[in-house]
Amino acid sequence: MRLAFFGGIYSNHLALAAAIADARSRGVDAMWCLGDLGGFGPHPDRTCELIRNNNVSVVQGNYDHSIGHGLNDCQCGYTDPRDNHFAQLSYDYTLTHNCDDHRTWMRTLPAQQRVEFDGVRLLLCHGSPRRTNEFLWDSTTSTQFLAKMCDNNACDVILGTHTGLHWQRTWDERGAVSTKSRGFINVGVLGRPENDGTINVWYTLLRTGGDVGAGEAPLPWEVEFVPLIYDHERLACEMRDERLPDEFIQTILTGWWTTCLEVLPSKERRRGQW
């Protein structure tokens, strides 16, 4: 099977449209979005329409939970006052620009989903299986923690998003030798670039069974992180027209994060400019 996973869209409907087209051109059998449809970008309704019209299954993110229930904030989990200030601007815009039909639909989205393909048990969530807004960063999440999470949830692979940075870790199932059959995958986000000075965004392909590439010892599954170019200048224009903060627009145009930086661990923070 060939499966496509999109992380947070953050209302970047142009990247979402490009990702759906790109995934289809690669012959995927199914597509998922792991939540956080809105925030940051313009015209949140356009993202919802694309998702619902293209048979993309969705797991509820903290943003979708907040918007769906009309809460006061996005529940992103920032701790710094400046980060919270920008998060609130973005949230207030998104809340007032989502139609009632989409908000009703968001309330019905599942917090996680289990699927199995070719004997590989996948658990799809937004932050972590235990908490929708948990940040699992590559440099602050030990392998034993991930292994225990897989064991506790009786699955082989956990897929999440929420942090905005793609990464993966694999390990041996307890007692097995060098099978690396278990894993955690952060699928990245389509909403904004990855704080590395490039303007592309990322999504993830997962292959199982006969679609896994041939190797000396083929694994039960394999991952490909896909860098995606889209019309980021048009997105910036739309954001300007909607009077979204210039800090957000700069991120889209430069590839460097300008907000929501204080939750980054040091390894991830050092890779950025600010």
Binding site: T140, S142, Q144
Partner: protein, 297 residues
């Protein structure tokens, strides 16, 4: 549905998941004697002793089975333990590590080794440097003469070696001044060449030396069983942490010196519920996850 607590009922918190394992690596020994220290650390306080490298390694191996996510090193001043650098090098093979230091005793040769260890690891090594405000006038009356400048030199050294220290301050001012003080601190750090300063504010804990400096907790500063109904207990440190001390495993880094805080000799023995009946538990309840890094949530 149980929505009303019996007034006699204790506010009990189970260990949900052992996410953070703390090492009280320097016991209560510190080169400073801060007047707000919640466990009264000083050069002469030996109520808790140093941990050995072997003890730390034994606990790291034990931690694998428990799925521990992160490791924290505290004291006292952790760098007074001559084996700290080797312990951190070893820890970075198991997971991310954070050191809570006063920044006044750091040596370039240690930081050179630690920089190499972090570069060779999957995981982040974080430094939290305690400085109580952006000026000597705010900091030194609490932490001691010239400690502001000495700690800032520690920050300079960490930045020079490529680290991004989290400057951690105890709120010894009114909460309403947070914005102004954090802004001033960012300016001071920027002027010294640390342009993307990371800051963390901690509430005061009215224990130890701080209870003598200002006041202790009153009998009304208590968490009740009723207050825990519907409350997200993962906000409480004891729901996801334990502390290795030379006297056994303690429930949380704040209460090590308090009655009933030592739960047993092994992580297994310390896997039991705790009644959050101490005054400091009310501070933890109010502010939430006060001991962990901002990236943890």
């Amino acid at each position: 549905m149980n929505s009303v607590a019996n007034p006699e009922q204790l506010p009990i918190v189970e260990l949900g998941s052992l996410d953070e394992l703390w090492f009280q690596v320097a016991g209560t020994r510190c080169n400073l004697s801060c007047t707000h220290c919640f466990i009264s650390c000083s050069p002469h306080n030996d109520s808790f002793g140093f941990l050995s490298f072997e003890e730390v390694e034994r606990r790291l191996l034990e931690a694998v089975e428990w799925g521990v996510k992160e490791f924290y090193f505290t004291g006292g001043e952790p760098f007074l333990n001559p084996q700290l650098v080797a312990m951190l090098e070893r820890t970075l093979a198991f997971g991310p590590a954070t050191v809570l230091t006063n920044g006044t005793v750091l040596k370039p040769e240690w930081l050179e080794r630690l920089r190499a260890a972090e570069q060779g690891s999957l995981y982040s090594l974080e430094f939290r440097v305690s400085i109580d405000g952006p000026t000597p006038e705010l900091n030194d009356p609490i932490r001691g003469p010239r400690t502001f400048e000495r700690a800032m030199q520690g920050v300079d050294l960490l930045v020079q070696f490529g680290f991004l220290p989290i400057v951690t301050m105890t709120r010894v001012w009114d909460e309403g001044q947070d914005h102004e003080i954090l802004g001033r601190f960012r300016d001071v750090l920027r002027q010294r060449g640390y342009g993307r300063a990371r800051l963390k504010v901690l509430p005061r804990l009215l224990l130890g030396a701080e209870a003598n400096r200002t006041c202790g907790y009153s009998s009304s500063d208590r968490v009740t069983a009723e207050m825990l109904i519907g409350y997200d207990k993962s906000q409480l440190v004891c729901q996801h942490s334990r502390v290795v001390t030379d006297r056994g495993i303690a429930v949380c880094p704040i209460l090590i010196d308090s009655p009933g805080a030592i739960l047993g000799d092994t992580l297994q023995a310390a896997n039991r519920s705790f009644a959050v009946t101490h005054g400091a538990c009310a501070t933890c309840y109010q502010f939430g996850a006060i001991c962990t890094n901002p990236s943890h949530k």
